[in-house]
């Protein structure tokens, strides 16, 4: 119900903050967000229906292209599930290489996110630095697999390419460089006063709300809940690797930055362990063409959270049902909670803090054209410039007064 001093604004689907089309409809009272509504559907490509018409092997190719940033997550989750259905077990060396690529993907995704978070907070230099270091990881991935993105390393029964000693040495060298840079980013992230002031206290998600709303991944771990599929439900070789689950207690965007940087450091340790203990042997096992009847639930810890695939087969070479639930969809209700009672200007930052991968979140079918219902369009670029001015002449003085007591205020003027 709209009162006199509330107004609705629509953002998206084309805006510069997010590289993906998504439409948000917000209700404001003054500068405070009262309600948020997502309009999903721009990224739907009908993947679940398409998967029923393709064989299991063709689906590995299709699953990879669900998402560009976490493509290995989807193929690994799928391949693990189908291997369980077939009853085959890939050899140890194959599993080690799979885990190695998974951790490399986690590193590249977190560096990407750090850059985007810096960009949303107004810190473009950080954006350029982290993406330049990301190129180091892309080079490693290209040497190992042949492509910078969509590295097609998984096959039903193992992996497709092997690692030789030269590549191992190169990976270990690059890790040294990345470790130094990550320490530098940790220092910036936690001590640089303007950056910290911009992100601390923004986007609060309490522990109980995070559990009730079924959030996953770093969004939940920043509220102090130590849930990680790699520890709860170990797959590949995570049962043998010593590592820790990274959490933070601050429940806001600063906590999410801290969790992701800690995860970067853990990933470096995991990769060193993997390379030192890589066992010799085959990398793949032959897989049958037809899959026995059965159902399997396969879970994986993608860089953004828990990725779950449900596969049901009916004895032929095409799946009966393939259900994919990517982590960003699970974080949507939590995001709505985080955006409420925050400022307009914090919207790009809070939304970027869950590391949205909208393309993963929507895979269903659309058919008919949409009639648009927007009332007003604001570009995200303008939103990002808005924190500079918090006008004393806001529409609802009574709510704003309490907020201003907490904001920076000197001599009756508002200073940001």
């Amino acid at each position: 119900m709209m009162e006199d001093n509330q107004f609705k604004v629509a953002i998206g689907p084309q805006h510069p903050a997010l590289k993906e089309p998504i439409s948000l409809r917000m209700t404001f009272e003054g500068e405070i967000v009262k309600d948020v509504d997502f309009r999903l559907g721009y990224n739907h490509r009908g993947v679940e229906k398409l998967a029923e018409q393709r064989t299991f092997i063709q689906n590995v190719y299709l699953m990879e292209r669900l998402c560009g940033i976490c493509s290995h997550s989807h193929t690994t989750c799928y391949t693990q599930g189908v291997e369980k259905l077939m009853g085959i077990e890939p050899p140890k060396r194959g599993l080690y290489i799979r885990t190695l690529i998974a951790e490399l993907e986690r590193i590249h995704s977190h560096l990407l996110w750090l850059g985007v978070a810096g960009h949303e907070a107004g810190f473009d230099t950080f954006f350029m630095y982290t993406w330049r270091d990301r190129e180091v990881v892309m080079d490693i991935l290209e040497i190992v697999s042949g492509n910078r993105v969509h590295y097609a390393m998984n096959a039903l029964g193992g992996v497709r390419r092997d690692i030789d000693d030269q590549q191992k040495a190169k990976i270990l060298d690059s890790l040294d460089l990345l470790k130094k840079r990550t320490d530098y980013y940790f220092n910036i992230g936690s001590t640089e006063p303007t950056f910290v002031a911009r992100i601390a206290g923004v986007g609060k998600l309490t522990r109980q709300m995070g559990i009730d709303l079924c959030a996953t991944g770093p969004t939940l771990r920043a509220s102090g809940v130590p849930r990680d599929v790699r520890k709860d439900d170990p797959y590949a070789v995570y049962g043998e690797i010593p590592f820790e689950v990274c959490t933070a207690d601050t429940c806001d965007v600063l906590g999410r930055v801290v969790v992701r940087v800690k995860e970067l450091i853990e990933s470096y340790k995991i990769i060193e362990f993997l390379l030192k203990n890589l066992p010799p042997g085959d990398i793949t096992v032959k897989a049958p063409r037809r899959v026995k009847e059965g159902e399997v639930v396969s879970r994986y810890e993608a860089p953004r959270g828990e990725n779950i695939h449900f596969i049901k087969s009916n004895g032929t070479d095409k799946p009966e049902r393939l259900k994919v639930r990517a982590p960003t969809l699970a974080n949507y209700p939590a995001t709505i909670e985080m955006l409420k009672n925050g400022f307009i200007a914090d919207i790009p930052l809070v939304f970027a803090a869950i590391d949205p991968c909208i393309c993963c979140a929507e895979r269903m079918i659309q058919l008919v054209d949409v009639r648009s219902q927007e009332t007003k369009m604001i570009s995200m670029g303008d939103l990002r410039k808005m924190p500079i001015g918090r006008h004393p002449s806001a529409a609802s003085q009574r709510d704003a007064a309490e907020i201003w007591k907490a904001a920076f205020q000197k001599n009756g003027n508002v200073i940001f």
Partner: protein
């Protein structure tokens, strides 16, 4: 005379608008990577702009989902003349992996007139630079 000046300035530094019509994001990340210090399109004067009103070149990725089709046409109409459309990635050339799905139109050229096609799944940033330079040369 003024026309020649305007045309020279457009060729020398076109401003681009990036439009994602439902892609898997790999091409989008590679386009952003081509603006980063390693490949650096910005030294040609090419800037990534936020609003359609400032752009000269529309870079489109993704198979066009039916939900996004109306929006793309509206954005295309908001870009001032002369404008160029570049289709990047296999999905925007012909639908890519999703060919056959009921809700995608199958390529940006079903909806907008395209001036340059850059294939790849995903495109390498080098290919993006090559494609943009070829488009500028043909002006």
């Amino acid at each position: 005379m003024l026309e020649r000046l305007v045309r020279w300035s457009r060729i020398k530094s076109p401003w681009i608008l990036h439009l994602n019509t439902g892609a898997c994001n790999a091409c989008d990340i590679e386009i952003l990577a081509s603006l980063m210090p390693r490949f650096d399109l910005e030294r040609f004067g090419i800037l990534l702009k936020a609003t359609p009103r400032h752009a000269d070149v529309l870079i489109c990725t993704g198979p066009v989902t039916r939900q996004a089709k109306d929006r793309i046409i509206r954005i295309y109409e908001q870009v001032p003349e002369p404008k160029f459309v570049v289709a990047v990635g296999t999905c925007s050339l012909s639908g890519g992996v999703y060919r056959g799905a009921p809700n995608i139109m199958g390529g940006v050229d079903q909806v907008l007139p395209v001036h340059a096609y850059i294939p790849g799944c995903p495109v390498r940033p080098d290919a993006v630079i090559d494609g943009v330079v070829k488009l500028l040369k043909s002006l």
